[in-house]
């Protein structure tokens, strides 16, 4: 599907979604409440079949977080970027690890380094840091008095 066709399809699936302008891939923003049902549609809709989640990451915008999903279809070769805005104080979103198994590790990474909690994840533990580590290193306000090197 081309970006335009994809956009029309998305407007049908998710009324009121905000689209970003000037991006190479169709990029849309949504809210965590609507995300899980939307993601299930992306995975299973016969016209979409987004079966490949090639990147999952989180961004700290100081006032809020966004989780960014890069979806692609190995059948139709179209790509979609979904950004979900999360609350600063309680960043939580439903897991998609049962839809895309790769999300299991990627979500653990986002939890470990950015402190996003993924509701329903089968194994929500830290991945790189030790279990007793305090704080989330990729956050902008993270301070480590011992190991941090300032440039």
């Amino acid at each position: 599907m081309t970006n335009e066709a994809l956009k029309i399809k998305m407007e049908g699936l998710l009324p009121g979604a905000a689209f970003e302008e000037g991006t190479a891939w169709l990029t849309l923003q949504t809210v965590p409440e609507e995300f899980k049902a939307f993601a299930t549609q992306l995975r299973s809709d016969p016209d979409l079949l987004f079966d490949y989640l090639f990147c999952l990451t989180a961004v700290d915008w100081k006032t809020h977080f966004t989780v960014v999903y890069h979806f692609s279809s190995t059948v139709y070769r179209h790509t979609l970027v979904v950004k979900v805005k999360l609350d600063k104080n309680d960043p939580a979103i439903d897991t998609v690890s049962e839809l895309w198994r790769t999300a299991e590790f990627h979500e653990r990474e986002a939890y470990d380094l950015m402190g996003i909690s993924f509701t329903g994840h089968p194994d929500m533990r830290r991945l790189f840091m030790t279990a007793d580590h305090v704080g989330y290193p990729l956050r902008k306000d993270y301070e480590d008095p011992v190991n941090m090197i300032k440039l």
Binding site: G22, T23, A24, W25, T27, D51, Y52, L53, F54, C55, T57, V59, D60, V68, H70, T74, R77, V81, W100, R101, T102, E104, F105, H106, E109, L113, L127, F128, M129, T130, P137, L138, K150, L151
Partner: protein, 371 residues
């Protein structure tokens, strides 16, 4: 190597492999739940070489951050640099000279061959054959010498930079690459004679660590791991960058999904890489090796994503820029990370001895996983 042996409440044995185990090729720690010799669960514990490269990059400017990325997948350092350079060039909307493009592709493919050679030797060593390692290093040394002359480094190259190349290639580059091609073409049959056709090797890898096509896509497995399961995922073919669409080469696909299929993909890829190099080595255009760029690079506000095919699979570089000289946030989607996540699924129900073959054919590079 076995740090701690215990049993859980079902009477299964818990075994630790690593982080200092010779066959993990780095500091990977696996906690394995065993019922007799049968693997019930493999749980990777990561972070022993986590340097938080993504955080570091947030305080490095667009000329500096290339240098840390050589230290992710150190066997594909040229290709890592290439991905970063492409991402920055995409943001700057920079056209780079064709000489630089050709040399970049040549170096990428040389890197891919060198990486697969090391993997080939190390895999055979994991499975108990020591000789192949020396065969692989005989040819790999020639590539390393080419790199040393041209880039001044054998491992962390830092040669491909935004705008083109750090400097021009060494005057001896063409001659040495051709000598390498002659040598490798005449010796690659030894790889098959020594390992591929070996009965012991085949019985240790055929039917071991099976990954179906659907699972490979779901786990995000790319590179030879994905292609061994029949997933067409070669970024050079699907989303061509630089001059790949003008080149004649095949995407090597195997349908088996087992360790032997992944093995055959990599052997096939070495031959394809040689074909690419042969097409280009006599056709390096004259001209500049670098585009004109400003001393300080500033990316406009926005998101930039570049994808390349490293020796292990799809590397994604995702830069979120706020218009400054450093990235606001950068994410490296590393191939090894996703490939490792399938290890538990692939080795369940198999024997612990087979785990080494599965792990070996995933071609894990731990700094790439931990970043």
């Amino acid at each position: 190597m076995l740090e701690e042996i215990g049993t859980n409440d079902q009477g299964d044995m818990i075994i630790n492999i690593g982080p200092q185990h010779p066959s993990t090729h780095g500091v990977l720690h696996l906690v394995i739940t065993l019922n007799g010799e049968t693997v019930k669960k493999v749980e990777p514990h990561l972070g022993y070489i986590h340097r938080s490269i993504e955080k570091m990059c947030e305080s490095l400017n667009y000329r500096q951050f290339i240098y840390v990325t050589s230290r992710m997948d150190y066997l594909s350092s040229h290709i890592n640099n290439h991905a970063c350079a492409l991402c920055v060039e995409q943001g700057l909307q920079l056209e780079i000279p064709s000489r630089a493009q050709v040399i970049r592709v040549l170096l990428d493919e040389l890197t891919r061959i060198a990486s697969h050679q090391l993997w080939w030797g190390a895999l055979a060593m994991d499975l108990g054959a020591f000789t192949p390692f020396f065969y692989a290093f005989r040819e790999r040394e020639m590539i390393n010498e080419i790199m040393e002359e041209t880039c001044g480094a054998r491992l962390t190259m830092n040669y491909i930079v935004p705008g083109g190349l750090m400097m021009d290639v060494h005057p001896d580059f063409q001659r040495k690459v051709k000598a390498f091609l002659v040598q490798f073409r005449s010796k690659i049959h030894e790889y098959d004679e020594l390992v591929t056709g070996n009965v012991i090797f085949q019985s240790r890898t055929k039917g071991v660590g099976i990954l179906s096509k659907e699972d490979a896509i779901s786990y995000g497995c790319t590179g030879p791991t994905g292609r061994g399961s029949g997933v067409s995922c070669d970024i050079r073919k699907l989303y061509p960058y630089e001059i790949y669409q003008q080149l004649q080469f095949d995407e090597v696909l195997e349908q088996g999904g087992d360790s032997f299929a992944r093995y055959k993909v990599r052997i096939g890829e070495m031959i394809q890489s040689m074909n690419i190099i042969e097409q280009l080595i006599d056709n390096i255009p004259e001209g500049d090796f670098q585009a004109k760029t400003k001393a300080v690079l500033k990316l406009p506000k926005g998101d930039f994503y570049s994808r390349v095919e490293t020796a292990r699979g799809e590397l994604g570089v995702y830069i979120i820029s706020e218009g400054g000289t450093t990235p606001y946030r950068i994410k490296f989607r590393s191939p090894g990370f996703s490939n490792l996540s399938a290890l538990d699924h692939m080795s369940r129900g198999g024997k612990i001895g087979d785990l080494m073959a599965t792990m070996g054919t995933l071609d894990l590079v731990i700094p790439d996983i931990d970043r």
